[in-house]
């Protein structure tokens, strides 16, 4: 079984790399062959040159750093908030009953629409961007934790109770560890959503971050710059996602390997 898994990994990786090469080739020569002008789709080499130019002249590293810092801050704070509220509500059916309509309403409301409001409140600083990210990360994390707490096998709780477990012992020994796999599923979603929140905040107002470069490039009709910003945003999001996966692999090491793979 291990051998077949191994060969699957080799075949899969080969195919992935092949797809990447096909994609990059198509990007480089496709637009020219199809007579698509460079201001619609600039070829790969033009985007690469633009990236080098931006790195040297436009402070690409600085803007990427700002965005990454906002994403990280928003993601961590949003996750902490979402998880804490999820645990609190999960343990109090009354609180859940009372709060559920508001939670639902806030969940339905498009969080990115709050971005202009936050900028009005806090100006062109990094804080409104972090706040949008917090808001957007909050929900998937909270909902996953809440569901996890509610679906813990009551027989497990009874088992602990039969051993005379106190409420805190039931939480720390059963409910909390049982909630970790869904929590991490929420964190995975949250890590990618944090980027969305930050970018929207930066697009709406400010003079720093990849979102700012995005709208600056748009204003200059510099399509290559827009592409560079998109690629960098994807990298930032990918790194955040990878970070979650790495922590998850450590924390949930007891799960069968199959359950940990996949996205």
């Amino acid at each position: 079984m291990n051998g077949s898994n191994h060969s699957l990994a080799i075949r899969g990786t080969t195919l992935s790399v092949a797809l990447l090469i096909v994609f990059l080739t198509a990007w480089q020569w496709g637009p020219g062959l199809l007579r698509i002008p460079p201001f619609i789709i600039p070829p790969l080499s033009a985007v690469f040159n633009e990236a080098v130019r931006m790195w040297n002249v436009s402070g690409l590293a600085f803007h990427t750093g700002i965005t990454a810092a906002e994403v990280l801050a928003g993601f961590i704070l949003g996750s902490l908030l979402g998880a804490s509220i999820g645990y609190l509500i999960g343990m109090s059916p009354t609180a859940e009953f009372a709060l559920s309509p508001y939670i639902l309403a806030l969940q339905i409301a498009p969080k990115v629409a709050f971005a202009p409001l936050f900028i009005l409140w806090m100006g062109f600083t990094i804080y409104p961007k972090i706040l949008v990210a917090i808001l957007i990360v909050f929900f998937p994390v909270m909902v996953n934790v809440l569901t996890a707490i509610r679906t813990v096998d009551p027989d497990l709780i009874n088992l602990a109770r039969a051993f005379k477990a106190k409420r805190a012992q039931i939480f720390w020994r059963i409910e909390f560890p049982a909630s970790l796999p869904p929590l991490f599923a929420g964190l995975r979603i949250g890590s990618t959503l944090a980027v969305v929140g930050v970018v929207v905040g930066e697009l709406v107002g400010g003079n720093a971050g990849l979102g700012y470069l995005l709208s600056f490039g748009e204003g200059q009709a510099n399509t290559a710059m827009v592409f560079v910003a998109i690629v960098m945003l994807t990298l930032v999001g990918g790194l955040a996602y990878l970070l979650v996966i790495l922590i998850e692999l450590r924390v949930l090491h007891y799960l069968p390997k199959r359950a940990q793979m996949g996205f």
């Binding site: 027989d155 109770r161 039969a162």
Partner: protein, 264 residues
């Protein structure tokens, strides 16, 4: 003290209210299990057997009557009783040894003593080499052995067993039954075993109690007069077994309509 009563139900009645309808699960049940005795409780699905287990372990209070363990009235969960269900209830994030120590850990037994007990139980139940494994790496029968070890680790005087082997395959079940029987015998534990398996009831017990359909009452008591309670594999070959099983089938009305296959 051979006649010491370890577990006793005195005139226990349990009613549940579900919306407008009231349901009597068990009615006027009195059971007394002596020290070291293994008693099986058998009856149709939904006759309230598991309700009795919950009352005995102090998880639910009866509507009427009372339960006693070691002469003390059961007011809530207590150290004298431990239960084991059809589900192994192993915690997937704990290793086998850590799962065995779960109960003693909650009860605040010192770490060294916890490890000592886990080690000796894992050795007795032939699980020593798996103590560092996680539950998902074990077979169903092994998981159930771990659950048994966890139940025994808290050193209860009374074990309440609710169809502990009904989810494992027939051959594994026979092996587990023998291990349970030997363990109970060696440790001198008292046990109330709830089962659907007539042969399991006869081969493992000193006495079999038969419950009626809902509302559950005790309708028969059959002492099993076959020697060698610690070896159910040998015991099941005894010529008297067929007679007991036959009597149980009659008492449970098996072969007539609606007695089997009802959902739990």
């Amino acid at each position: 003290m051979p006649d010491l009563i370890r577990l006793e139900y005195r005139n226990v009645t349990m009613r549940f209210t579900q919306g407008a309808s009231r349901l009597t699960a068990v009615e006027g049940v009195s059971i007394a299990v002596r020290d070291g005795e293994v008693v099986s409780l058998i009856g149709p699905s939904g006759c309230g057997k598991s309700t009795l287990l919950n009352i005995g372990s102090g998880l639910t209070a009866p509507s009427e009557g009372e339960a006693f363990v070691d002469g003390e009235r059961v007011e809530g969960p207590n150290e004298h009783v431990a239960f084991m269900l059809q589900k192994d209830l192993l915690l997937p994030w704990r290793t086998v040894a850590e799962n065995v120590m779960f109960g003693v850990e909650i009860q605040g037994v010192p770490a060294a003593e916890r490890r000592r007990r886990a080690k000796s139980l894992l050795e007795t139940l032939k699980l020593a080499e798996f103590s560092g494994h996680y539950p998902h790496q074990l077979s169903g029968g092994m998981r159930q052995r771990v659950a048994l070890a966890r139940t025994l680790a808290v050193d209860p005087t009374v074990l309440l067993l609710d169809e502990p082997f009904s989810a494992v395959d027939a051959q594994t079940r026979m092996v587990l039954q023998r291990e349970l029987a030997q363990t109970l015998q060696r440790a001198g534990k008292t046990a109330l075993l709830i089962t659907h398996d007539l042969l399991e009831a006869v081969t493992l017990s000193d006495r079999v109690l038969v419950m009626s359909r809902r509302p559950g009452r005790i309708i028969d008591e059959i002492p099993i007069e076959i020697p060698g309670r610690d070896d159910p594999l040998k015991r099941r070959l005894h010529p008297k077994v067929a007679g007991y099983v036959n009597r149980l089938m009659e008492r449970l009305d098996i072969g007539h309509l609606e007695t089997t296959g009802a959902p739990v």
